[in-house]
Symmetry: C2
Subunit: 487 residues, 2 copies
């Protein structure tokens, strides 16, 4: 028969089993972290009616959309989780309680140009808090603490959450009489790190934007405000009283910073940064970006902000909210690429491989059932292979324990447990010393005790984080830890 | 602004928060159950190249496929998880260890005619064990035990796993010299329950199929073999020695039945049923269906079987396997429809709602952080609402505890915990008696103790199953339990 060459489309991530376990652990930890803050899980369709999904979209986004007809129906695949949330809240408004806190972790689709590390199908992990008419500022202060706890629970250490407030930016440009040009100005100022202040000034005063040199200097001076959070806030106080919107933004930012230590976010992981603007139009208050300190070139790994009107395309209800999004697939790619994935994380599909040595499998099957009832992940290996091949199977899958059940064991009602993670070159004396501490390379026990022993061995295992930050790697291998911005 | 009416496409399930929590719990329990048996999680793209995905497909399936062009690329949405598995195993063959045990829970797409309870986007939850060249029969015996443990862990009680073996069927038809007509015959025999034996015989001897009356009687007699598993196997022994394939199938079926009690599957939940054939061509050995005893009209809620060649369209490798699939979205719909969802399951997004009563929120924020560190899901409620509205919010979301932090509490370093699940009409005497047993309608404690108290209250909560079988409901409300096939 002619064969079709199997392949996976470029831009679509498909992981090998070990990596998939790590990815899934990330998702599980995200779910757990979001749940601790009172967010409820949501799942919406991947396919929506185009006129619903694209009620707002336009420009670059619309070109990337997977859109097609099925029969007469014009369908599109979702390109983010925000528009489906807006639809959901507008559609189910009467059934929801506000503030409505939801998280959603799901696949979205963008037909971007194929490029290394860019994906056309990727997971987003979003949280949003939606108010009905109003939403208290404290929610904006809580978001960085969620980001902090979430990344920390994944094992990431050297990251920083950067915060700004759009009202400060918009108020500042209003002070200068530049409200209408503020969009163009912010897009230009965004290039500061790349092209430097002189070129930014040149662009600002050039014919496209055309502000005065004095205004450009004011802007560069403002954007250059730096220091720790108190210093930045103090510098901003110098502008107070000149514009209402600015003052309101400064109050909000001050409030967010004030509550951060109560929320348990260390100063090291948090910075007021006036260069953060977030391109999207609908952010109206606090905005967030999160960067990896050792890899600023990666850009923000978690972004979001406050918006005033989530669902204006679907409803007259005023639904302000605040939310953040993690591009999980890209983050995972970057973490693997940069060596951040914990290669020692337990990714084996089973804790115990049971190797029956007799024709009658009933005792082995019964042992497997007992182990599973105790929460131990057990796999029976019954293929007709040589003994060595069976152990090599366990080895390849990193299964930590093997259990042998031969005639002798079955007669005696025992099981032989072998720890496959221990090296083979211990001396007899060393093995005896370890045995006194309850660590056995191989031990034969009455079946019930063998089950209890394995259960205890598995329970002792510390739950690994999927990410291993370079600090840990440095410590582990006794290398010099990264110095810059040491945490 | 003109509004776009928000809507969700028909045939696409979108759940309200409470139901979503129940659905997610089902998924979580499936993951846990599959993991105990050594299956590794997998995730493959929703979109595949059409020529890859449709290498095998044809007929009815192809018509239902969501297929479209993006640029010049011919794309299709997956319509099951088996074809992507075949592609995955063929593509990554060198990186996998066999037997390869994987589970996958993901959305698939079929543009079926819109109909109540039929979905165009739905979750499948699949497990498969793939061998390289060979696969031991014990795997076929293990599958029913996984089905049993899985549904039991979900809370379902009155279900039955029905098993047959295609070799027995094919061998039997070969005995009668009817191999070529066996497909038509099996499709006709499938109608037995609906139309009765006379009409089946008439169809079999009619001009379309055209077998003799004697052959038809032989078939009806064979299909009518009933009784407990031993009785059926004994009856089948009467046919032994007439055809090799039949004998092989009988050996396999006998082996599967033999190991079932070792695997812990009770006789009540398992039946050899010679009418089970499974339509698909690629099943070659044991086949499975699972039915709800009180709702046979729903049909099979978990089906699968043994196949000899998973990936023949992609590779020359012989990859036999055995697997089952649960149509999770439809199952969830049916369970809700028939009143099987546990309406008392905890679906609240938080365990504790913290209600600060002072302007400075730092103490409340700090308490929330402490609770979360102890694994208690805590939500701060800071909206400017009347006290009654705040409690009504907790009530609507079924949040079991509220914590009040007023000036008095903050001064004294205490917190007041209110149990929102307790009725309001207890007498003082009753409240005091309960308090002696550690149950408090409302209690003020030093903050640390309040945290420990809440942690303990939450930990005490029994983990609910998402399904509540009618047996439980009958017991609970003291109704007469279902009699038929009592378990």
């Amino acid at each position: 028969m002619a064969k079709q060459k199997p392949r996976t489309l470029s831009g679509f991530m498909e992981l090998l089993p070990q990596r998939q376990v790590q990815f899934d652990r990330m998702v599980e930890l995200l779910r757990r972290s979001y749940s601790l803050y009172g967010f409820t899980p949501l799942d919406t369709p991947v396919i929506e009616a185009s006129e619903v999904l694209l009620a707002k979209a336009g420009g670059e986004t619309e070109k990337q959309i997977y859109r097609f007809l099925k029969g007469d129906t014009d369908l599109s695949l979702r390109f983010d989780l925000t528009v489906p949330l807006a639809k959901y809240v507008a559609l189910h408004y009467g059934d929801l309680s506000f503030p409505f806190r939801r998280f959603q972790i799901g696949k979205v689709y963008r037909g971007e140009r194929a490029q290394r590390g860019r994906f056309r199908e990727f997971y987003q992990a979003d949280i949003d808090i939606i108010g009905d008419g109003k939403l208290d500022i404290v929610n904006e202060a809580e978001i960085p603490s969620i980001i902090y706890q979430t990344f920390t629970s994944l094992g990431l250490k050297r990251f920083q959450i950067r915060v700004n407030n759009r009202k400060i930016l918009n108020g500042f440009y209003a002070m200068l009489g530049l409200t209408e040009k503020s969009g163009d100005i912010m897009r230009t100022v965004d290039k500061l790190e790349k092209i430097g202040p002189e070129k930014v000034a040149a662009l600002l005063t050039g014919e496209d934007i055309g502000i005065t040199g004095e205004q450009a200097q004011e802007i560069l001076k403002f954007i250059a405000i730096q220091g720790d959070n108190d210093q930045v806030l103090t510098a901003l106080e110098g502008y107070r009283g000149r514009h209402e919107l600015f003052d309101q933004g400064l109050d909000e930012l001050t409030c967010v910073v004030k509550y951060l230590s109560a929320f348990g976010v260390p100063q090291t992981h948090f910075a007021v940064d006036l260069t953060i603007a977030r391109g999207l139009d609908y952010y109206t208050g606090t905005v967030y970006e999160t960067t990896m300190l050792d890899h600023p070139e990666i850009g923000s790994i978690c972004s979001g902000g406050r918006y005033d009107n989530l669902a204006e395309y679907y409803t007259d209800k005023q639904l302000p909210g605040v939310g953040i999004s993690i591009g999980l697939t890209r983050l995972f790619f970057v973490l693997e690429d940069q060596g951040y994935l914990n290669e020692e994380m337990v990714t084996a599909p089973a804790d115990v491989l049971i190797l029956p040595m007799t024709e009658d499998l009933a005792p082995a099957i019964s042992l497997a059932s007992q182990l599973r009832q105790c929460g131990v992940r057990a796999q029976l290996y019954t293929e007709q292979k040589k003994f060595k091949a069976k152990l090599s199977y366990a080895d390849k899958l990193n299964i930590p324990f093997a259990v042998f059940l031969g005639e002798d064991e079955i007669q005696a009602g025992t099981a032989t447990v072998k720890n496959l993670t221990m090296a083979n070159d211990f001396s007899q004396e060393e093995l005896e010393r370890m045995a006194q501490e309850g660590i056995h390379k191989q031990i034969t026990l009455p079946t019930q005790e063998a089950v209890a022993y394995l259960q205890q061995q598995i329970a002792q295992r510390v739950e690994d984080t999927p990410i291993w930050d370079k600090v840990d790697i440095a410590l582990r291998y006794d290398l010099e830890a990264p110095k810059k911005n040491e945490l």
